[in-house]
């Protein structure tokens, strides 16, 4: 892309969503995760490693904070004073929230992370120069930096294991940032099929790897614009609106009985992932 085009379309590249005159059409990929059914089994995380060619860095590098898990399970203990089995663990799968007004996008010095028309927060490895500013500005801390040239130097995939790498996903080299993509390779594949058949992607036609692996079906993923999609129905039932920084349901009584919420909504990144959780007595 030439500099001329980049400048000409600057507002579009740096466009933050949603705004009234530019609705998402025909796709807005979104997710909802039911934390009340999540058992914290880590299957989603493993599936993500397998699908997206994520290097397994090992204990030592993990302790240095160089882990690459695009999907991580965060643990919270609600009963700190008790022993382990009764500690009341709560799990929260955390990955890139594909914010509509993503803080990471505005700070990238080279425009390597942008917003796409179908509501994804793209990360282009070829363009990334590794300033790590995006990671610094991400309130969810879901961006991971390649400190090493994992495929060659670090032997994260011994000889035969390279055959399990997904050819639809780049193997990232040293010095680039990476993060959850909402399995964009799968999205693009179904979008292409749908387009060739003259329709839009149907509900259930595409799954993310984490959703596919989840044994308790806690994760649902789909097109938020499509009124038939499960995600759309869940968001509507929970009265969570994409373009709100404070949900209507929470304004009047302070809290609502409904379970749906988005993390750090008040910072106005307009995340595309909704979590569902019953507020527990112990948490109040």
């Amino acid at each position: 892309m030439s500099v001329g085009t980049l400048l000409e379309n600057w507002s579009e590249f740096r466009h933050f969503h949603p705004v009234d005159d530019k609705p998402h059409d025909p796709y807005k990929w979104a997710m909802s995760i039911d934390l009340d059914t999540c058992t914290g089994c880590n299957a989603c995380s493993v599936a993500c490693y397998a699908e997206n060619n994520i290097p397994v860095v090992g204990k030592e590098k993990f302790q240095h904070g160089q882990q690459m898990h695009w999907m991580r399970i965060e643990r919270y203990w609600s009963e700190d004073d008790r022993e382990f089995p009764d500690q009341g663990a709560q799990f929260l799968p955390m990955m890139c929230q594909q914010c509509e007004a993503a803080p990471c996008e505005t700070v990238c010095p080279v425009g390597a992370t942008n917003h796409t028309a179908d509501g994804l927060n793209s990360q282009i490895y070829n363009r990334c120069i590794g300033s790590r500013y995006c990671s610094a500005n991400c309130p969810f801390k879901v961006r991971y930096f390649n400190w090493y040239d994992y495929p060659t130097v670090d032997n994260v995939w011994p000889a035969e294991m390279t055959r399990q790498l997904n050819p639809d996903v780049s193997v990232r080299g040293k010095g680039v940032m990476e993060k959850c993509t909402f399995c964009v390779q799968r999205l693009r594949a179904v979008e292409v099929t749908a387009k060739s058949e003259g329709r839009i992607v149907r509900e259930g036609e595409v799954q993310t790897a984490c959703q596919q692996a989840c044994p308790s079906s806690a994760i649902s993923f789909g097109n938020l614009v499509d009124p038939e999609s499960r995600v759309h129905k869940q968001w509507a039932a929970q009265q969570v609106v994409l373009e709100a920084d404070e949900q209507e349901k929470n304004k009047e009584h302070g809290t609502s009985e409904l379970r749906g919420y988005r993390i750090l909504e008040e910072l106005r990144p307009y995340p595309s992932v909704m979590y569902l959780e019953q507020v527990r007595e112990s948490a109040v």
Binding site: S2, G4, E12, Y125
Partner: protein, 235 residues
Amino acid sequence: MHRILRLSFFLMGLLVAAGSHAADAQKPTLTTEDSLGPQVTQPIEFPHYRHAGLRNPNDPTNSDPNKGGMEIDCQYCHTYARRSAVAGIPPLQKCIGCHQNIESVRQKPRIVELFKYWDAKKAVPWKKVHDLPDFVRFNHERHIKRFIEQQNRPTQEACGYCHGDVKEMTVARRSKPLTMGWCASCHQKEHPVTGEGGAPIGNQAYWYKFQKPAADKSGGEIKAQGPNDCWHCHK
């Protein structure tokens, strides 16, 4: 002092911006000798000109292999292009399917070579000519649907946008740069997505931007650019 510094920074910025615009203005010609790919030696020198080339009007029997072709549609052999992301290489069965019935060329050296592979039950190890980097997601099917099926462009023209004039070649050679700038030079063009009166071409109108493009006042035709978000092509 600070003000002067700031101003000079501003001017520098302007200069750089202007410079990049100027560089933009004189775009390199798309097909230069430099952008020609390497001459690839294939296991069998496949004569594209003979299969896909135009018929010679002076030779109604089409018997002279040095003149005139068969005008076979590209998609007859490269059949996967219209239904998958990769065009693929035609299997040996495809060659034999015709050539077992063409006695007149059966003893030609290339055909003899071809039948050697067939008798040995081995695939011909064709070499890849148009190779995109591993981080690129390119889809043949979309381009075929868009240009051949929906806009009724001739196959050879549509394939030729990226593959050059293969019907004139013996062994195919890359004749377009296949760089990102070159891809984008076409994706930046305004292609019609609807016909007269605003009816979508092939019952589908395409646009990849956030908004439906405005209709042209005079013709009612809507034009839009190709996909231009990075994640369409970058893996």
